[in-house]
């Protein structure tokens, strides 16, 4: 006898089977990184927890959208799962598959359980919509978290590389590594000037060998720093500019006369010694 069934009924009655089926699909999609980080039991527990929240969600009167309060727990759990994977370096596909593979699992059981073609059809459509929306949440969270991780990493690279070294009396060496964006450039310029004053330096060598790209606005900040340092009685020399960078800079309205540059760190050091009135000589034998 045909009984009106919904996805919710299916999920409560055959939860174990759905779980096993879904878990196998998620496990199959897990890459080596994921397998390192999680045992099968841990992964199954994650899947089970999400399935449990979805079961409650689907038992609501109507489920047209994941914005309804019933789905709050599922969305939150999914966000945590995605964010964790983004941080751990899992692939986007693997993370998306976590949710999308539930579709196939449910489809198999729905076809078995639902007698009437109309019910089957309408339930498939609803279930499909919901899972697509959840997949979008997964994608969005994953992308945002990845972005945040990359920014934090590049910030920490710049923080590590910014400490200036007093390589000689009155000569400061400031090696820059990594990606510099405008807010960091601003902070960097302020720190550099403070350091020049604290160390009473007359020359600061800014080595940019480790910086792949310096855009216009960052170049302008460096120019500003050069001019401000000049008023503090110090010169800024920039070394390690790549040929590509040199080409880009000449296309901007910065003339090479504004920025004091030297090709190599070695040449910069020689110039710095000259500025502070020192000469390197061979020892008497």
């Amino acid at each position: 006898m045909a009984v009106e069934r919904t996805v919710a009924d299916l999920l409560s009655d055959r939860q174990e089977e759905v779980l096993d089926n879904w878990f196998e699909a998620v496990k199959a999609a897990t890459g080596p990184r994921g397998r390192e980080l999680r045992s099968d039991n841990e992964l199954k527990a994650e899947v089970a927890a999400l399935l449990s929240t979805l079961t409650s969600a689907f038992s609501a009167e109507s489920y047209d959208s994941i914005d309804s309060p019933e789905f709050a727990a599922s969305v939150e759990m999914l966000q945590e799962i995605s964010a964790a994977r983004a941080r751990q370096g899992s692939s986007p596909t693997e993370t998306a598959t976590f949710v999308l593979s539930l579709k196939n699992s449910l489809l198999v059981f729905m076809q078995e359980e639902f007698d009437s073609p109309e019910t089957l059809n309408s339930e498939i459509i609803k279930m499909n919509n919901i899972i697509d929306m959840l997949a979008l949440v997964t994608f969005e969270t994953f992308a945002n978290e990845r972005e945040r991780v990359v920014q934090a990493q590049s910030r920490s690279i710049l923080e590590l590389s910014t400490p200036a070294v007093e390589i000689w009396d009155e000569i400061l060496l400031v090696p820059l590594v990594g990606v510099i964006d405008t807010p960091r450039a601003q902070q960097f310029v302020e720190n550099l000037l403070e350091t020049i004053v604290e160390t009473e330096s007359r020359v600061a060598i800014l080595d940019v060998t480790g910086v792949p790209v310096i855009d216009t606005s960052v170049a302008r900040h460096i120019l500003k720093a050069t001019m401000a340092a000049h008023m503090l009685g110090a010169r800024i020399l920039i070394t390690g500019i790549s040929p590509e960078m040199a080409q880009t800079w000449t296309k901007l309205d910065l003339s090479s006369a504004d920025l004091h540059t030297k090709g190599s760190l070695r040449a910069g050091l020689r110039e710095a010694f000259a500025i502070v009135g020192k000469r390197v000589a061979d020892q008497e034998r």
Partner: protein
């Protein structure tokens, strides 16, 4: 949020406005360079009012919200007015040094926004510095 009003009738008024500005900017969370920009702008605007209009009223407001930190500076004076506002704001190097509107291009370079309303007898200059909280260290 916070608001302070300072009467600027002499150089002590400029100093008071700057000190108030420094404190408000610091409390709002601006770094030391931004604080210097803000109080330099306050100095420009209040000194302008003092020299050309014999004084004015400086109002400082902390307009910060959860996304931005923001300090607004407003200076009202009852001087002769700026005859040509557009010209006063144009490239700072062409403005006559020491003229009524001469500090304005500087303020526009230091701060985020600048609005000027002027007619003979009443001039209001409103400027503000904002920073996105996520840009702060």
């Amino acid at each position: 949020m916070g608001e302070r009003v300072i009467a600027v009738d002499d150089v002590d008024g400029i100093i008071a406005a700057r000190q108030a500005g420094r404190e408000m900017a610091r409390i709002a969370g601006f770094g030391s360079i931004d604080q210097t920009r803000i109080i330099t702008a306050i100095s420009e605007l209040t000194r302008n009012a003092l020299i050309h209009a014999s004084g004015g009223i400086c109002t400082l407001t902390d307009d910060s919200d959860d996304k931005f930190i923001r300090i607004a500076v407003r200076v009202d004076d009852h001087g002769p007015g700026i005859p040509d506002i557009e010209q006063a704001l144009a490239d700072g190097f062409t403005t006559i040094e020491g003229s009524y509107g001469s500090g304005l291009p500087i303020v526009s370079r230091l701060l985020s926004t600048l609005v000027i309303e002027s007619e003979p007898g009443h001039t209001v200059v409103s400027a503000a510095m904002s920073r996105h909280r996520s840009d702060l260290r």
